[in-house]
Amino acid sequence: MAFSEENLANHLGGLGYSEEQIELMDVATSFCRDKSPIDKVRKLMADERGYDAQVWQEIAELGWLGIAIPEAHGGVGLSMAEVAPIAEQMGRRLLTTPFATCTVAAQALLAAGDEVQCGEWLPRIVAGEIATLALSEPHGDWTLSHVEATAKPNGDGYALSGTKQFVAYAKDAALVIATVNVDGAVRLALIEQSAIPDGALRREIIVDETRRTYELTLDGITIPASALLDAGRSATALGQIELASALLQAAEMCGGTQSAIDYTVEYLKTRKQFGKLIGEYQALKHPITNAYVAYEKARSHMLSAAHNFGQQGVGEIAVRMAKASADKAYSFAADRAVQFHGGFGFTHDCDAGLYRRSAIWHASQFGDAAWHRAKLADLLF
């Protein structure tokens, strides 16, 4: 029985790539490999800041923080399509920095910021100042418009109240972009570092030890009226934040899946039991092959999501398919990576655990596979 997917394909996006994308993919492949060997990753896990400031500076100097920012604001003037291959290589080497959160924060500013707001912040982001997003709340809902934190008029400005969670790299951030409820409408608010009082940030203990996030208490923070982004473009900005985040996650997850498979395959090729390489046993050989097949499918979806990003209709479908399939592939590959390392897999020294925890982390942020499938059902049925 053969099968035709042409009919379905007509509703969905296809695949393509730009020269710049491939060049960046090649540069990022060697950069991430060289800057993030696994012993370095483990060293940074124990470091308070969690990333190498020198490497961060190099990332800024390479221009990577401005790839999807227009030239008028000091950026490179390309698109999210060209950012994805970099995120993929970062995920592959577990090179965690504020790269993704800064990239998405810039997209939020572009979606709902005015000329003054963009003019001030985008060049600073390009230069390596950290901008981050404060979206999640204690209710744990992935719906970004579900916001209980408030901003109430207070003199010339607004007084903020509520709690934000999983604010990435907030301690080092020059700018926090938070969702707040203003008179029943969700708005994006710019909070400068100087407005955050001592003690408002608590470092969170998170499943992925290679990252840093903070809980941010908004009570006591006031912002000027000029720090709110355009009310009329809030929904668009939230959509852009969700899809840009999911795209970069899908890319990081594909890279992580690739590594989890490579790492396990290496073990299956060297470890012997009962006089045989364990990779000869089909009980291990076949599931790792299934993991590989799932990885290649997820990578095709991710490249399609990058290629179609921003296209009306097909862009959102492609991104959600990419995140859903990346979650499935990464979770399975990393889960089997732990199991197939046997006793060693159960130790903290085995890298399989790094990938497994990374996959759990990504599933927990901006929606897991089931969440994106539910969204797809709304889009496709």
Binding site: M1, A2, F3, S4, E5, E6, N7, L8, A9, L12, G14, L15, Y17, I22, M25, Q258, I261, V265, L268, K269, K276, L277, G279, E280, Y281, Q282, K285, H286, I288, T289, N290, Y292, V293, E296, K297, A298, S300, H301, L303, S304, M321, A324, S325, A370, R373, A374, L376, A377, L380, F381
Partner: protein, 404 residues
């Protein structure tokens, strides 16, 4: 090779082909037509499909790009591609003689002698000479290289003893492409294999039909008992068998060759499954209102789209740098397993009606989905089982060791 046609010439040709297929594509014959060449069960089906292939050939839309001296149309392959596209557009029945025009024909045109080309090509295009394939044996399914059917040279003849199985159209074919063992010597099991273009009507060759999981026929087992075939049936030299068999498998897998055209399998339309789901009910409501069914359906659509994207990506060098052969080698496994799971899922839409089977007047789509699911195993088992495919991917793509 004919010269590359201009866009205008192709457009003219397409208009002409379009008119012909619109006029001549048969309507519903009143009985179920096989979806693949492996499912030809009744005389009625066989005769209908032979007549259709002959008609297409005589109109010039099959073998259009094969050489005229052997019965082809001598045109540039672009013309044939257009004819096949139009055939597909009008959803015409399959071309029956798949082993002939899909495997044996390209092989003979590629490496056959002048006599072989003159003798075989025209008859396979016109469906006068049906071909079958004798590779698998009862004891050697996945392990093709271990084929044991014996061919012993005796004067101007070879004497054949042994058995072949899963032979589609074996009871109706005039010729078989046959992999047989002429020697047990040599450095490995492959060295003693030879390749024959064998007549099926030789004394000592008997066939027995195999009733399939679906309840239909389509395959036979062939028994060779001191069957004598002329020595000139040997293709190439003794010992070339494995290499030639691998070449034919490349044609099957779509290696670049000048194809006769047409198609041998009807494609299952992904959106057809969605359509079936839309028409189905649960608890008095549309099935796709059920969140569990909806979730599974979306999962399949993600999978289908992944395979579609994989097919595009495998031709894009920079996007397959790390493991260039990976997508190509996993394709059969991924597609056939997905189709098996999807058709199985489609049965669950039907509620109580899932209990009906092909030909019951109340069966949904006359049992098309049941038949599709049961037939899907022909692809997850035939041409190398999914388990063998996983070994291939594990060993050739991931570099895992072979089992001992």
């Amino acid at each position: 090779m004919a010269t590359r046609p201009t866009a205008a010439e192709l457009a003219d040709y397409e208009a002409q082909a379009d008119a012909w297929f619109r006029e001549n594509t048969p309507k519903d014959p009143g009985f179920m037509l096989p979806l693949t060449f492996m499912e030809v069960s009744t005389d009625q089906q066989f005769e209908f499909l032979c007549a259709w292939q002959r008609k297409v050939y005589e109109a010039g839309y099959l073998g259009a790009s094969w050489p005229t001296e052997y019965g082809g149309g001598g045109m540039h392959p672009d013309f044939q591609r257009i004819a096949t596209k139009v055939m597909k557009k009008y959803d015409g029945p399959i071309m029956l003689n798949a082993i002939g025009i899909g495997w044996a024909g390209p092989l003979i045109l590629d490496i056959g002698s002048e006599e072989e080309k003159k003798k075989y090509i025209k008859g396979m295009l016109s469906a006068e000479d049906i071909w079958c394939q004798g590779f698998s044996e009862p004891e050697n399914g996945s392990d093709l290289g271990n084929a044991q059917l014996k061919a012993v040279r005796d004067g101007d003849e070879y004497v054949l003893n042994g058995s072949k199985i899963w032979t589609s159209l074996g009871d109706r074919a005039k010729y078989m492409i046959l992999l047989a063992r002429t020697s047990n010597e040599g450095p490995n099991k492959y060295a003693g294999l030879s390749f024959f273009l064998a007549p099926m009507h030789a004394p000592g060759i008997e066939t027995r039909r195999i009733k399939k999981l679906t309840g239909e026929y389509g395959f036979v087992q062939c028994f060779f008992t001191d069957a004598r075939i002329p020595a000139e049936c040997l293709m190439g030299k003794e010992g070339d068998g494995w290499q030639i068999a691998m070449k034919t498998l490349e044609y099957e897998r779509g290696a670049k060759v000048n194809l006769a055209g047409g198609y041998f399998l009807k494609e299952l339309d992904a959106m057809g499954v969605v359509e079936l789901a839309r028409q189905s009910q649960r608890g008095g409501k549309a099935l796709l209102d059920d969140p569990v069914m909806k979730d599974r359906m979306i999962d399949f659509m993600i999978d289908i789209q992944a395979l579609n994207l994989n097919n595009q990506r495998r031709r894009m060098g920079p996007l397959v740098q790390d493991r260039p052969m990976g997508l190509a080698l996993m394709n059969k496994l991924a597609r056939t397993e997905m189709i098996r799971e999807l058709t199985e899922f489609s049965l669950s839409f039907q509620g109580t009606r899932g209990g009906y089977y092909v030909d019951d007047p109340c069966a949904v789509d006359n049992g098309y989905w049941h038949r599709s699911y049961l037939n899907s195993f022909s692809a997850t088992i035939g041409g190398g089982t999914s388990e063998i495919q996983r070994n291939i991917v594990a060993e050739h793509v991931l570099g895992l060791p072979k089992g001992r």
